[in-house]
Symmetry: C2
Subunit: 442 residues, 2 copies
């Protein structure tokens, strides 16, 4: 069988979520959840799909980045890629001339994610397994062979990574059974957007707790009194022991973050997420140290650009919760590098999700992490938001506050053709309708 | 007068430098020096020009990024921008939806640079001054009003920045006279590319020393024995006291960098440039500490993505030489932020140049730095490479090993229309000729 990658196409898919103000926070007021949608076809007719998530404008730039990388990937033999994925990834991220646009950050790295996610989808489909199971069943050596360790030697060597996986073999079968039976713990963000009234928060907390959620996140950072008001409602309406996290979406300076969060400590905050610039390792370290005695950890990662940044956050103690992103890092294998480093430095991985497709993706990474790497659910949970799942063949599902382990082969990101046609930007039916109705300007 | 920005256009300009292997190093083997070339026109007919430099492939992606930002800039009043440049810059870099693609890094930030550099060019032309002089003549308050201080509070406040400028008023006139008379010290990279023979290095060192150069940089990192061979030639052929720097172009792991450089210390190395990932602040800090006793400083910055990263490098002691880049940071004002932070932390600024247009740009920043901020030439020098200057109306000029202070109004980046037509990619005459002659594939 010749598994040559014959063609790669990319479509600019955008959902007009800004019209409803879903997902607005202190920094991102009006996102249109969007993705560059990659379809990959092999000579023998296999198909794989990948996305990169964005907030709307500029999604076309990521699509252009993917088209640029396409020429480096079309014609390659999948079996050769799978045989030395680390080398393939290095070649892609270090491509002559293109590397200057990064390295490993921003638009071009997000383009790498779109391509690599599609290749991992193909791999899982070929093996007839959901992605998490493909990873779980790999030997430690094979799994580690997919990871590029460039610039990681001072934090995690290949041998250390293999050691971690070998040591965690014990109990893997039980943990896999547990995941299939109970799923992976989720937390929910949609009860606590900025500006929600007491009534709305109360109603949403009642509904979500009835559904089995025990972990909640609220947005903070615009106004301290409003934050106190809403967090008070949370603590009054949450059952005892339920977890509460807050998210400032990069709003603060360092000292400002410390001062602000000290005022919110009384509400029992598990983590403050994105207190400041996502690039500021040393700033997060300072905040972490200042808030430790208040029982508040620092979480960040959804805009952490690559494994070198995660290395610094993890090694220095600048993050107490590691929020990997399936589309910001360069696909599955870079996420594996971060998951393994997090294990070494004892930091729980709590992936970023929401948007479109992110829940579908990161559930696989968390389930793998639990079974093969972390071996514990302590302080581990995966974000969930109930948006846009209806467009996927295998939508993420949450039951009793836990992600249900996906069962179909692949990485769960294939979308319905009707959805793609309807939301393709700017020619898709929905965008044309909104434009004709003067609800938006194209 | 209405100084409304009426139109912005961008052209994809590439020079086929890879055919000659100019500028090859351990990481970048075959760059085609390129730029996204921005032309900006106001309603009253003023014109300004800006570029973002790239290595070729992907230059079109930066052009697309610039087109995306154009809609945020066209229609704006220049006087309003000049009145609160910091706000304009913040709005551009925090634009809704687009921010997700960064923030402040990679393709979109380089696009910001192209736009902002053009606006600064317009500003200098309006004032009838070369850019360095525009900056030198600004009051401390006005200059600082162009800088966005977001995320910098823990390193440099607005008041501290003003203080620095006020304190340095003394002696400004003398320093300006000195710059006009002698220019700003340059160093030259083109004698020491990887793989050069002893004869070639010797010839180039003789020629450049005769021209007055006293500061030299060699590439290292591919092979330790070859590095020793070439550095030995440098030290034999350089006059006593002349400076020698080396550049590894991100080739090493942390410990590898330390071990390698200890072996080269005997050649009297002023700095090791880009020893490892440009994102690794803590790695550079470790290298800095290990090499300090060997008299070797660490230099980095040409791929340092933004002011938050520079803040960490400067504040922590991870860089001993600060290599700002005029097109990687978001234009002049972000460079001003870094120059002022470098002053506070006592780190000399030695800009990255070469490529196409970078020498034309950074000479302005260095001359301003000396006159208004640093007040000293100790350990300060600006890279020079003798490539592609013939395409500019006011090419960078070096005399007696020093950049000659530019005299024409603007930021020195306007190119001849014939050059633009000839090197526009892919339709320009030179690219068509190379393609027809089968020397390249378009």
């Amino acid at each position: 069988m010749t598994r040559i990658i014959q063609s790669i196409s990319v479509r600019d898919i955008r959902f007009p979520t800004s019209l409803e103000k879903d997902g607005s926070d202190a920094t991102n007021l009006a996102p249109d959840y969007s993705c560059a949608y990659v379809s990959m076809t092999t000579k023998d007719g296999l198909k794989g799909y990948g996305i990169t998530f964005t907030l709307g404008r500029g999604n076309n730039i990521v699509c252009e980045g993917i088209k640029l990388l396409t020429e480096l990937v079309v014609g390659k033999d999948l079996d050769e890629i799978f045989g030395n994925f680390a080398q393939f990834w290095w070649d892609l991220t270090n491509a002559q001339q293109i590397r200057w646009l990064g390295p490993d950050k921003g638009v071009m790295h997000m383009a790498v994610a779109g391509i690599c996610n599609a290749i991992w989808d193909l791999w899982a489909r070929i093996e007839g397994k959901p992605l998490w199971k493909l990873l779980v069943d790999m030997s430690p050596e094979q799994l580690v062979s997919t990871i590029d360790f460039t610039y990681l030697e001072d934090a995690l060597t290949k041998d250390e990574a293999i050691d971690i996986l070998v040591k965690m073999k014990e109990g893997k079968e039980e943990r896999e059974k547990e995941m299939k039976a109970n799923g992976f713990p989720a937390y929910i963000t949609s009860c606590g957007w900025l500006g929600y009234s007491e009534e709305k928060i109360t109603r949403l907390l009642m509904e979500t707790q009835e559904k089995g959620f025990t972990r909640f996140k609220a947005k903070v950072g615009a106004d301290i009194e409003d934050d106190k008001r809403r967090l008070k409602v949370f603590r009054e309406k949450l059952m005892p022991g339920n977890l509460l996290m807050v998210d400032a979406n990069q709003k603060w300076e360092i000292q400002e973050a410390i001062d602000w969060m000290k005022q919110l400590a009384e509400y029992g905050i598990t983590w403050i997420e994105e207190p400041t610039s996502p690039d500021d390792v040393l700033g997060h370290l300072e905040i972490s140290k200042a808030l430790a005695s208040h029982g508040i950890g620092v979480a960040t990662g959804e805009q952490c650009q690559n494994k070198v940044m995660f290395k610094q956050f993890l090694k220095s103690g600048a993050m107490q919760f590691c929020q990997i992103d399936s589309c910001r890092l360069g696909g599955v294998s870079e996420n594996l590098a971060v998951i393994l480093m997090a294990k070494k430095y004892g930091v729980p991985v709590c992936p970023h999700a929401g948007g479109v497709g992110l829940c579908e993706y990161v559930q696989h990474l968390s389930i793998f992490d639990y079974i093969s790497v972390a071996g514990s659910l302590d302080k581990r949970m995966c974000e969930f938001a109930d948006h846009l799942h209806e467009h996927f063949y295998e939508p993420a599902r949450v039951k009793n506050g836990c992600y249900v382990a996906p069962e179909k082969p692949g990485y769960s990101i294939e979308m319905y053709p009707e959805s793609l046609d309807k939301y393709e930007w700017p020619a898709g039916g929905e965008w044309q309708r909104l434009s004709t109705a003067n609800l938006i300007q194209l």
